[in-house]
């Protein structure tokens, strides 16, 4: 803006015709994560958006090149920290693909259960935050209550509410607890009940609907050309879910559907997420019925999985296995692979390169958030400043995954 002194002559006072530049973030209470948007405004109308990520860069990929393959798990926890278990599983599958092993069926089902629980929390966090940012605080609290129930289950299973580090190459850190089935069985109807209440509160609310419908429209073509995946892509009407397209962990055997939208606006994204929660609950219901109460959870290969402690203390093979795995780590064969799974926000890919040693040569993560983030610009142009909050909220950018 020009200084006001130039218009001392009241007769010549005009409204400024130059667009206004506004910086939103990186520290702004309504921004999801530490990110900055440089906006060019024409009054309330957004003419240009420059999204600038990078404020949460920790050098995750580089850090992976120091330790062993197993020591990458804590880093994956901190990618999309709304659904760490999906990242754990995604990385496990990548390394297992490189080594050429497949975990036992019990482990696959366990991974599906924990992963779908994580997906529910991820989608609920996004939906709840959107409601809160539009002024609906009550449904937010209800949703967060549900998230806490699930986190309680994850805590009982893994020992941690958020950063589980529970995945292992060739299995999981521990077998399922005896309580798991009962806990999931009890929580599923409760989730359904709360979501019904949320639906009544929000989806009959004129203000909430007006703020979502027709706002932040992303066309199918734009979404595809930008490489958008996950609920955002499905909201534009593209039927792509990694679990259906290239099933892993036995997803092809579960009966579930992939919800898709048809407008690609914020409302569609919101609804796709809510419906995916329902579908995840369907999968969970089937998975707990299938989960065997006993059987191996880890692959039977002491070169990959730590041997039992009594073997370590009493036999030389066990001692050597323990020594090699702890000191040098699992050694995948030389080579590179790309492995991808359906993360909370879309296709979570790991491109990993091994030089045959126990330390990763390269761990490249394809973070769904980062790629989805590119769509924020095209979606927001033409909308109003106040729409930034719900539209950007529906992108569900998670700084930890976007910047790594």
């Amino acid at each position: 803006m020009e200084p006001i002194q130039e218009y001392e002559d009241e007769n010549s006072l005009e409204l400024p015709s130059e667009p206004m530049h506004l910086h939103m973030g990186p520290s702004h209470p309504a921004m999801h994560g530490t990110i900055r948007m440089v906006l060019e405004l024409d009054g309330e109308i957004i003419r240009k958006v420059d999204v600038q990520p990078g404020y949460l860069h920790r050098g995750f990929e580089k850090s992976c090149e120091r330790g062993t393959w197993s020591q990458v798990y804590p880093y994956t926890d901190r990618l999309n920290y709304c659904s760490p278990m999906l990242n754990n599983v995604g990385f496990s599958l990548a390394v297992e693909k490189l080594i050429g092993i497949e975990v036992p069926e019990r482990c696959q089902i366990y991974r599906v259960i924990l992963g779908e629980l994580a997906r529910v929390t991820d989608h609920l966090t996004c939906a709840g935050a959107m409601a809160m940012e539009l002024g609906a605080f009550t449904p937010f609290l209800w949703i967060i209550k549900v998230r806490d129930w699930i986190w309680d289950i994850l805590e009982i299973e893994t020992g941690a509410r958020m950063t589980h580090s529970f995945g292992r190459i060739g299995g999981m850190a521990k077998p399922p607890t005896e309580k798991l089935k009962e806990l999931v069985r009890n929580v599923l109807p409760e989730i359904d009940k709360v979501l019904g209440e949320v639906n009544v509160t929000l989806l009959r609310n004129r203000i909430f609907m007006d703020r979502l419908q027709g706002v932040g429209v992303l066309s199918k073509e734009d979404a595809l050309s930008l490489g958008v995946t996950g609920p955002m892509l499905r909201a534009t009407g593209v039927d792509y879910d990694v679990r259906k397209a290239t099933p892993y962990s036995g997803y092809e055997t579960y009966d579930f559907e992939v919800p898709i939208g048809h407008v690609g606006d914020t409302y569609d994204r919101f609804m796709v997420r809510l419906e995916e929660v329902n579908q995840s609950c369907r999968i969970l219901g089937q998975a707990i019925e299938r989960l065997p109460d006993s059987g191996p959870i880890n692959v039977d290969d002491p070169r990959v999985i730590l041997p039992p402690k009594d073997e370590v203390y009493t036999t030389i093979e066990g001692t050597i296995a323990h020594f090699k795995l702890v000191m040098e780590g699992v050694k995948p064969p030389k080579g590179a692979i790309y492995s991808y799974t359906e993360g909370g926000n879309g296709e979570l890919g790991f491109y990993i390169v091994s030089d045959g040693s126990g330390t990763p040569y390269r761990v490249r993560c394809r973070p769904p958030c980062f790629i989805n983030l590119q769509s924020a610009g095209p979606m927001l142009v033409g909308d109003q400043v106040a729409d930034i909050v719900p539209v950007f909220g529906s992108v569900n950018m998670i700084g930890g995954e976007c910047d790594r």
Binding site: P307, I316, E317, G318, T319, I320, A321, F323, M327
Partner: protein, 524 residues
Amino acid sequence: MPTFKLDGREVPFEPGDTIMKAAWRQGIEIPHYCWHPGLSIAANCRMCLVEIKAERPMLMPTLKWDESKQDYVPSDKPKLTPSCQASAVPGQEVFSQSPEAKNAQAHVQEFLLLNHPVDCPICDQAGECKLQDYWQTSQGTLKRKHTEPVHKPKAVRFGPTIVYDGERCIMCTRCIRVCDEVVGDHVLDMRERGNKNEITVSPGRELNHKYTLMTEHVCPVGALTSRDFRFKARVWFLRSAKSVCTGCSTGCNDHMDFDPRKNQIFRIRPRDNAEVNKFWMCDDGMLTYHRVHENRVTQGIIRNGQAKNVTRAEALGAAAAALGKVSGANLAVVLSAQHSNEDNQALVRFAKEVLGSERFHIALLGGWEGDNILRHTDNNPNCAGALAAAGGKASSMPDLLKDVASGAVQGVLALGWASTEDAATLAPLRALKAMVSLSSNVGALTEVATTVVPVASFAEMEGSFVNAKGMAQRFERVIDAPEGVKPAWQTLADLAKAMGKPLSHAQPTHAPALQGGAVEEARS
């Protein structure tokens, strides 16, 4: 050059090579314990079994598990060949990774671990043990035999340097062969058979020749351990620098293994160099690293009636004052055959430009026995280099004592601690107007010096030595010098400044071109 195919890869070989040796030359490792490139072929460990494609393979009857019948059925399998013993034949196809070969390697490895004690946590070899490596690459299964393992003698003293553990031994006979073939001393042999099989020392003997540590070096497992290194450090904490042995004029190439956290050297290992030491080193050479940590001069010393420790700066000041009192013509400069070319060349330049002296002497270390294996009769690593630095014109220490007695020399600047003459013989130097020593360790020269300035040892700088064959060999810096202590060539630059005659240009930080032959790059 003829070639054969190893796992689909063309491998060139020289006539007479075995499959193992040709692969080794190409950097391909076929699992093995008993084979060593520097020793004869024993072919007793059976780890290197490979499958060789033949038109009419020799088949051996065997039983194979049939999944559908849930029973063993008669079958046959190709006879495998130890690749360390089989000559390479042009055009032949060898498979070290075929299912049969891998199966054999896995089972040989399992056999070797059958009675192995659970010693990794207390074994010095852990971390660089072939049993551990091949478990991971070739076996990868847990124990199937859960009965009490066979027990054998443990911690047997073989001699002043080596301790033997029979339970860890895999009877590869490398130690026996290294004594027989490298040293020519049949002091080790094997006794008994089967479960009682063990390595033993000849009756009435100890393992006490000059190359005993080589038995430990070739041991692929933790059966032989060096008493010097035993329980001192864990190998995964050690880092390695390429260095050259300072024990004698052969200049054996070595790895100096040090712990960067403690800034301390823990052992020396031979570094293969076909032109110098092949694969070996002598015991005395392997233990020279002790000099880097023992009897060090880390502070300046001024002797005025009695010795007083001073700072390096004070020592430099005192040295400058003392040397300034004597005219160049009456000053003798003692080069050191224990110091690098860089140090000696700097000293020659300092003598000519700052002191104006042309009197060069070389101090040599003595008291050493050579042999016709590796040990050169001259136990100084850089006699040739020091002589070359002085332009080939340097006289001995007895000559220096004569000049001192005649009064022609009134001051001495000496590099290094080493000299054949003891402090009593060198006593006349005490009375000189100036007797300055630049030294890393305490020795006869520092004892008679009126001023001692501390300098870095060879392990604390990079540089080069010229060995008896005239090969200049570079060595890397291993650890940091004690605080404030600098290499001699830097110390001389500081001394020149202290004397008010700074050297005309900066000193080189790297080994300059040498007279004693081309600088040979350090090999791996």
